[in-house]
Symmetry: C2
Subunit: 432 residues, 2 copies
């Protein structure tokens, strides 16, 4: 697709799937993007909007009229309709909600009862369910009467008379067993269901761990309320990974690659400002040692080495811990052992590279004491960096903060302060 986009502007958009059109729109600068959006068939627009990222989508929805937006929300499955509505200005969203057809509105309100980021928001309420006590032949007659099943379903949910979830029967099971078989003898009673208020992350982990294609959603009483299918979970997995990566690079998750300059600049300014505070703190620490710097100018030449090596060491541990926390492999029972291991790795590398740096320093500045000082400062900073890369994300998580967002800035603060303080402090004590 990537190379075809310029030509695509002049070819028939109908050749592309909604997801491909969404990708195309996201790869265009604002003006062209809105021009192409006008060419999109109104029938396809709902699906295109549902495939776009939140940040980019708003640049399209702001050009659409009320009618197209309402039609889109009527046509979309609940999770997408809700997400789209959430991205609109409050007033417009209210206006659309009032003009929806009653059935769509009812389904939407049922979905909206669940919190953002929960399984309830992710589910489709159009699932087909059957009761126990019937044969596979009866199920087949029912399905032939319905004439189609919801997209990407792999089976039917089984409920009792009151609507309580009992299990699942896969299409494969229906097809491979004799028609006179009772559904209860082929249904999977162990098929897990998720609570509507489980988090998206829990749902994604469950799909990955059990290689599921779809899962039933139940309310707190165990009544079947909907179905989550894997294609929506793939979007969640992709989005979670994407947000983590952007946060770790000091980017806002809504940053739009080809979007307008001002909102991008504003979002990034926040991170640059926070980083500037860190940088000023580091400068203040250096400023404490102006006397030493005036006497030994080599200190100014060498000091970035100490902070930089600490920064890399810390960020290696930080990334490993953030990853382990998001995969669920790090917990209170193994955290201490991990600290020991990371400290050992950091210190080992500290000693290794301290020897190299000390050697180079002795040759470069013909000063053995200076070499010894930078070596000791390096080991110290790299050890503390490893411990901070371990401790900061755990601490942030305990206080409900996302370690991917603020972890790296806090870590840099530590490695800069310890790096400069250690090196310049030792130099002041030992060399002056």
């Amino acid at each position: 697709l990537a190379n075809e986009q310029t030509e695509a502007l002049h070819t028939d958009l109908r050749l592309y799937t909604p997801a491909e059109i969404a990708d195309l729109l996201e790869s265009l600068p604002l003006a062209e993007r809105q021009a192409v959006a006008e060419e999109i068939d109104p029938e396809v627009m709902p699906d295109v909007l549902s495939e776009m990222q939140v940040g980019t989508r708003s640049t399209i929805t702001e050009t659409l009229d009320l009618e197209t937006l309402t039609a889109s929300i009527n046509a979309l499955p609940e999770p997408y309709a809700v997400e789209l509505l959430d991205g609109l200005p409050e007033e417009l969203a209210d206006e659309i909600r009032e003009s929806l057809d009653p059935k769509a509105r009812q389904r939407l309100e049922a979905t909206l009862e669940w919190e953002e980021g929960s399984a309830g928001r992710l589910m489709h309420v159009d699932e087909v369910s059957v009761r126990t006590g019937i044969t596979l032949a009866t199920i087949q007659r029912y399905l032939r009467f319905l004439k189609h099943v919801p997209t990407n379903s792999d089976g039917l949910m089984i409920v009792d008379r009151e609507g309580f979830y009992l299990g699942k029967v896969s299409f494969a099971a229906i097809l491979t067993h004799p028609p006179e078989t009772l559904v209860e003898s082929v249904m999977d009673r162990n098929a897990v269901a998720v609570q509507g208020d489980s988090s998206e992350e829990e749902v994604a982990r469950l799909f990955e761990q059990r290689d599921l294609l779809s899962v039933a959603v139940v309310d707190e009483l165990g009544m079947l309320v909907g179905r989550i299918s894997i294609d929506d979970v793939v979007d969640v997995i992709r989005q979670m990974a994407d947000e983590q990566m952007m946060h770790m690079a000091n980017l806002h998750e809504l940053d739009d690659t080809f979007g307008p300059v001002l909102p991008s600049a504003r979002r990034r300014a926040v991170w640059l400002g926070i980083n500037l505070l860190t940088a000023f703190l580091a400068s203040w620490v250096i400023g404490l040692f102006q006397g030493a710097l005036e006497k030994i100018v080599a200190l100014a030449v060498l000091m970035p080495i100490v902070s930089s090596m600490g920064g890399i060491t810390g960020s290696q541990t930080l990334a490993l811990v953030i990853r382990g926390l998001s995969l669920g492999t790090i917990s209170s029972s193994n955290a201490r052992q991990l600290a020991m291991k990371e400290l050992a790795v950091g210190t080992l590398n500290g000693v290794l590279w301290a020897v190299v740096v000390a050697g180079v320093t002795m040759v470069w500045f013909h000063d053995y004491a200076l070499g010894a000082v930078i070596g000791v400062a390096l080991v110290l900073n790299m050890g503390i960096a490893a411990l901070s890369g371990w401790g900061l994300p755990l601490l942030l998580t305990r206080y409900g903060q996302d370690p991917a967002i603020s972890g790296s800035v806090l870590l840099t603060t530590v490695t800069d302060v310890v790096g400069f303080m250690g090196f310049l402090g030792l130099a002041t004590l030992l060399l002056l």
Copy 2:
């Protein structure tokens, strides 16, 4: 799971799915991990191994005897068997290959003909296919005769007499149409197939863009050779995101969170060494201006601010471009526009924060000229940082390098060198 792991050591492992046992093993330190591995039912071992990450898996396989390993490889679907075999020492792998049962060996060799990282390596060769010209009733009789279909299949592939791929019929379609219907009237002729030599990344993108559950794999002639199902693609998506994240944090993708210290230290030492070269280069640049630093010690105090703000600006653009390249939204046709936008964002923020830093500098050091110099150096470095964050990954990609691996080190080199050179150079010219 995370909180239960200590207890799990003492409870029955049979309560867990293979994926959950794999997660448990990955969250244990080496000694305990191998102790728990010994408790695992040999029947379940193949599935547990297939769910583990390559780096962690080798710590388990090295404790297994030849018999268990051979049984595992006999039992596993091809993609997992191949991956497992690839992770073993050459000699052991050869020995196992010779003792495999002939059918498993044949299937394995068919898979091994495809290159690593290709769709062929990802596919299952156990797909069930049918020919055109038959009714849905006939298909159902056939399926009842087979008694089961491969796990996680959502339909059957349709081939002609010679085995050429024609399309797909979903289980849902079989169930919702009358039994006398001919398969060709309900099959999806537009169901895409992927070439066995397509890359994993292409396959993953296709699944995401078209919300697929499974896809046919064909050879260069169009003959059906296998099937890829979405649960395997989910693993690819997760792994791709994970590797990108680890590379951007200067980690090797095989780094094992709870693994032994020495291999971890060795892998990370490489990145620290490369970073040290960068740091020495920066020191050398600073060294060129020792005269200026001796005369104005404030330069040493302030210089980290210039390099740090450049580093953040550059890494924001770098992450955005790496992401766009991996999502396929950045191409030669829009790269230049992106450069303009990033330069504008970087420069705007440069000017904003330059004013702040210049103001603070003037107040702190009572030196207007010094404030002006650091302001100009900041704008310069942040502009060049944005351009480098844009250009480096594009250049690396053009030369076949993964920008996530070396992008950040190269970027730091640029922002450090330009930052120190700009600030200290301007100071030498204007303040001395």
